[in-house]
């Protein structure tokens, strides 16, 4: 028993030391370096554009787990849900030639893409579902990106712990053929758990990038001044911005 105590003591010493180091600035810089290295490796190895794997109907999981926010707790949302989201708008604003305010009908009238993909949560689980919606690139074509545009910020109706959810991505992912604004899951309108009426699908990254309950897309040159400045709700709480690992 004594030796086991010594081992546990050594382990505790190590974890305490690492916990201290984890809070330093230089460690953060190293982690950012590794994040950039991973993103560059993924982009280089895959060629352009590397496509996420698409599955057959038989592979779809019997249920698609919802995670994070499982709804929007406002009376306005409840009313929208009641009315079939006829009043819902997706704004496109920021560094664009033409600002847009798209209704659900207008979104459904755009050319649609249907894809069966695997959703990987940062926690470790996965689910497979079929998503339908217009490619984000088609919406950006309508709006016209200005030359200073570098990132897209996705605004959401839901809050977690009192703060609005949001996400961001670079133009490489925004213009990727599989990046869609989904309004259907497995052939039905998006369930509330999964982000009704609109959610982002950004298939080469982890689940927290796939913003739900979308209300607006902001085209920006930097997200440093938005919310916590890290480019997303979870990013502001320590998660990595590039969620491809």
């Amino acid at each position: 028993m004594k030796r086991r105590n010594i081992l546990a003591g050594l382990a505790a010493l190590l974890t305490t030391g690492c916990t201290k180091i984890g809070k330093t600035e230089w460690f953060g810089a190293l982690v950012d370096g590794a994040e950039t290295l991973s993103r560059t490796a993924h982009r280089t190895l895959g060629g352009q554009p590397a496509m996420a794997r698409e599955y057959s109907v038989a592979d779809i999981s019997p249920h698609f787990r919802g995670n994070g926010s499982l709804g929007v707790g406002t009376s306005a949302y409840a009313e929208d849900l009641e009315n079939g989201f006829t009043a819902w708008r997706l704004q496109v604003r920021g560094l664009v030639e033409r600002e847009l305010s798209l209704s659900m009908d207008e979104i459904r009238a755009l050319p649609q893409r249907t894809q069966i993909t695997r959703h990987d949560c940062v926690e470790g689980w996965s689910a497979i579902g079929q998503w339908t919606g217009p490619q984000l690139s088609a919406i950006l074509d309508l709006a016209g990106l200005r030359s200073e545009a570098r990132y897209l910020v996705f605004r959401c109706a839901d809050t977690l712990g009192g703060a609005y959810y949001y996400e961001s991505c670079d133009l490489d992912d925004a213009l990727h053929p599989q990046t869609i604004i989904a309004h259907q899951l497995n052939g039905d309108p998006l369930p509330v758990d999964n982000g009704a009426p609109l959610r982002l699908r950004i298939e080469r990254q982890l689940g927290y990038k796939h913003a739900k309950y979308l209300t607006a897309i902001e085209v920006v040159d930097s997200f440093a001044d938005i919310e916590g400045g890290q480019g997303g709700y979870w990013e502001d709480r320590g998660y990595q911005w590039y969620a491809g690992v």
């Binding site: 974890t15 690492c18 991973s38 993924h42 794997r53 689980w125 298939e203 969620a243 690992v245």
Partner: protein, 224 residues
């Protein structure tokens, strides 16, 4: 001649640091979703083949539950671990270290020879009959160097959605992302078992000399 080459010694200690950090940050990541599945997908208890206990703070990096913090350590040291492993594999192949010291000879794998080696180990007799390592040692090192360590890198890559888009064949080799995650977990605990055995055998057999030799290199004529 040195008992351990300089490259082997540097890799050994870089590997100790990265494997320990990867293992302990991995336990923290495991706490985020304590079930394992086979195939491409899985999220529900009814689909799980294994329920994992929660690992306590003293065993995890950081020393409290933080998936974001643990992933920072894990993804940083994954690079250190993979690159140092790759350099060691190339270096040890080129220098003849594998052929000379690690590769198993046909006569060592005959049953009577294996039985003698097992008996000698059970009597805690670790004397060597020519060569640097005895048969069980070579088998253990081969399994670790050529199977378990590369498996950690490959199953780790197979779980990454960015990597899956780039090299989906890798995820498919393991039978899907959740299978890769399960194999990652099994291989990690196999390495832990090796670690315990390895340290125990060093402690039972001239611990200070073995430790010193892995730092300074030691001398081959006093190796036995």
């Amino acid at each position: 001649m040195k008992r351990h080459g300089l490259g082997t010694r540097i890799w050994h200690w870089v590997n100790v640091i990265s494997v320990v950090i990867l293992f302990m940050s991995g336990l923290n990541i495991s706490n985020a979703h304590r079930r394992l599945y086979w195939g491409e997908w899985g999220f529900d208890p009814s689909q799980a083949w294994l329920f994992i206990p929660r690992f306590p703070g003293w065993a995890t990096i950081p020393n409290y539950y933080s998936l974001a913090g643990a992933r920072d350590w894990h993804t940083l040291f994954a690079w250190v671990f993979s690159i140092s492993l790759l350099l060691f594999l190339i270096g040890a192949a080129l220098s003849g270290h594998f052929r000379r010291d690690i590769s198993l000879r046909r006569e060592e794998l005959r049953l009577p020879a294996l039985r003698d080696d097992v008996r000698a180990h059970l009597r805690l007799n670790f004397s060597l009959s020519g060569g640097k390592y005895n048969t069980l040692q070579k088998i253990a090192y081969c399994v670790v160097i050529f199977i378990l360590l590369p498996l950690m890198v490959l199953t780790g890559l197979a779980m990454s959605p960015g990597m899956d888009a780039a090299w989906s064949w890798l995820t498919q080799i393991f039978g899907g992302r959740q299978s890769a995650r399960s194999i990652h977990f099994i291989a990690a605990w196999s390495l832990f078992a090796f670690f315990v055995l390895h340290v125990a055998l060093v402690l039972l057999n001239k611990p200070l000399k073995n430790l010193r030799d892995m730092i300074t290199g030691g001398r081959i004529d006093e190796a036995a």
